[in-house]
Symmetry: C2
């Protein structure tokens, strides 16, 4: 089978690529071709078995989506997006990449199918940013989408388009709303959500991290490993049970910052916890107050999506996957 990943150079895209190459198959079918697309040409992993094509493309450019779709992949993972902060800072760019390019992709698939029948599986990564405060104690599967960012708006629109194109039979789509990914590998970044990962990743590597909010702040997490698991499941599961409701909040772990820190203490000891420096930042605290804290993701859970059940497991996944099993 032919698998295409759009947005392959991002953190999740690279991990999904590695997972698919390691598995060699998706849903029990051998992967014979893998197309990696992003605005910069993705690296081709060395020694990879299936035929791999890597290409730099901007889906929002005229004709780009049609060229990408001409490969007629069996499964298309659409991960490409401008992140929340950038989409808020640059209104036009956010709409161009997150909305127009997504619609161009969907429409290119439809047009390809109008020429010769073609109904690929399309897996679209949405986000819990489609929801906006105030929230119920746990956000259920039928709660409405009232995004408080342009990014969340663009993702919510992508979900609606995906559902309509699927309902009309133009492709077989599923949208998955990812929790905040924790522990995010790499260097600390300036995203308002960065500290959720920083306060674990940096101490585990023997470095200091800044905590800008109180320990009672609650948030919704899943590991990079769980996120890749969601994608693989979404790419291979039977979608008939979804009916016309094609967008799902993924399971995750609702935890306070204090619970994160306690897990760090259990897994890596007191020395690691002492590397967290408290520097309250009212601006970040205010932004975070508008974010979802907890979900009741029973629909996704009943459909076989799985996330970590404890922050200890999230930390151990990071130590295994990023630190070669060792704590610094």
């Amino acid at each position: 089978m032919h698998v295409q990943i759009i947005g392959a150079t991002g953190m999740i895209g690279r991990k999904l690529t590695a997972r698919l190459l390691a598995d060699g198959a998706l849903g029990g079918r051998e992967i014979t071709a893998l197309s990696l697309l992003d605005v910069v040409a993705p690296d081709v992993p060395a020694g990879a078995r299936p035929r791999i094509a890597a290409e730099a493309t901007d889906l929002s450019a005229p004709g780009a989506a049609a060229r990408a779709v001409a490969a007629r992949a069996d499964v298309i993972f659409h991960l490409a997006a401008i992140v929340s902060g950038e989409a808020e800072a640059d209104f036009d760019k956010g709409y161009r990449i997150n909305l127009d390019a997504t619609r161009a992709l969907f429409e290119a698939i439809r047009q390809e199918g109008l020429r010769t029948p073609y109904t690929p599986r399309v897996v679209f990564t949405s986000s819990i940013a489609v929801f906006g405060a105030p929230f119920p104690e746990a956000i259920g599967d039928e709660f409405f989408t009232t995004p408080l960012t342009s990014y969340g708006t663009q993702k919510a629109i992508g979900e609606l388009l995906l559902a309509d194109y699927s309902r009309r039979g133009f492709f077989d789509g599923i949208g998955i709303r990812l929790p905040t990914i924790c522990i995010r590998p790499g260097a600390p970044n300036k995203a308002a959500s960065g500290f959720f990962s920083n306060i674990l990743r940096e101490p585990l590597a023997g470095k200091e991290a800044v905590l800008p909010v109180g320990e009672d702040v609650r948030h919704w997490h899943a590991s990079p490993r769980a996120a890749v698991g969601f994608l693989v499941h979404a790419g291979s599961m039977d979608l008939a049970p979804l009916g016309t409701r094609r967008n799902l909040s993924m399971p995750g772990l609702s935890a306070t910052v204090g619970e994160q820190i306690e897990a760090l203490r259990r897994v890596a000891g007191e020395a690691a916890v002492r590397r967290i420096r408290r520097e309250p930042d009212p601006t970040i605290a205010k932004i975070v107050a508008g974010w979802p804290r907890n979900f009741d993701a029973r629909r996704a859970t009943s459909l076989g999506f799985k996330a970590e059940a404890s922050f200890d497991a999230i930390i151990r996944a990071h130590i295994d996957d990023e630190l070669g099993g060792r704590v610094g």
Copy 2:
């Protein structure tokens, strides 16, 4: 003040025009100019007091939205849309008119404001078609939008765009989800929902009407007069209490076909009821089964939107407004 109606030749557009001309004001401010736009040039009502401009324009055409917005109206009513059946039959046309033209309008307002500050009130007519079965007993204000038509998808996307453009301060928008309008004046049409109006309007005019579903079918109604009332209120109320949640299900009346018929009997007598001919149509029955039956529209109600409390009132409004007070 300057009021602009986009989609002015439709049934609601004409009634809104008549109401604004009769009132001479909106929200206590005199209407000094009225711009009527539609794909065909709207009629200019005779003897009208304010300056009226009527223009044929297709908002989806390049530059058309910018030209419309250059008038810098204080309040813009955006009613223009391809109806549900046509948007389902012609996928491209539905997206072009219901999505692209709406976005073009919103974007033209933003661009106008980037040149010289401009934040008009924008009233957008959405629809209960943003919801898709299965439903709770009554659809609450926080129920999710899972449209089962492309029309409903396009309206749900319009709502999201309206909320984001309002949140960013590009205009002051409100989206109102209209119930099914009953009694719809004019000739019977082939819309699947047509019978809800036909079985009252035709007998009231001394004519026969066909009822294709059972008397237990429940649906959500408001009169044309109530719909115009929603628009006038939306165009003049303070929107601050809405916060970022700019789209509201309007109040209405949940009634069965049997209750409609009983009201007809009370208002117009047994002779009128005898003009309803039962001709079950399984296709129509199946379509209608996927439609909302009841809402708990407490948010809109608390914000001052008002609908009829009985079908007797809906029928009397029709007799007053369309039949000069006489039953045929």
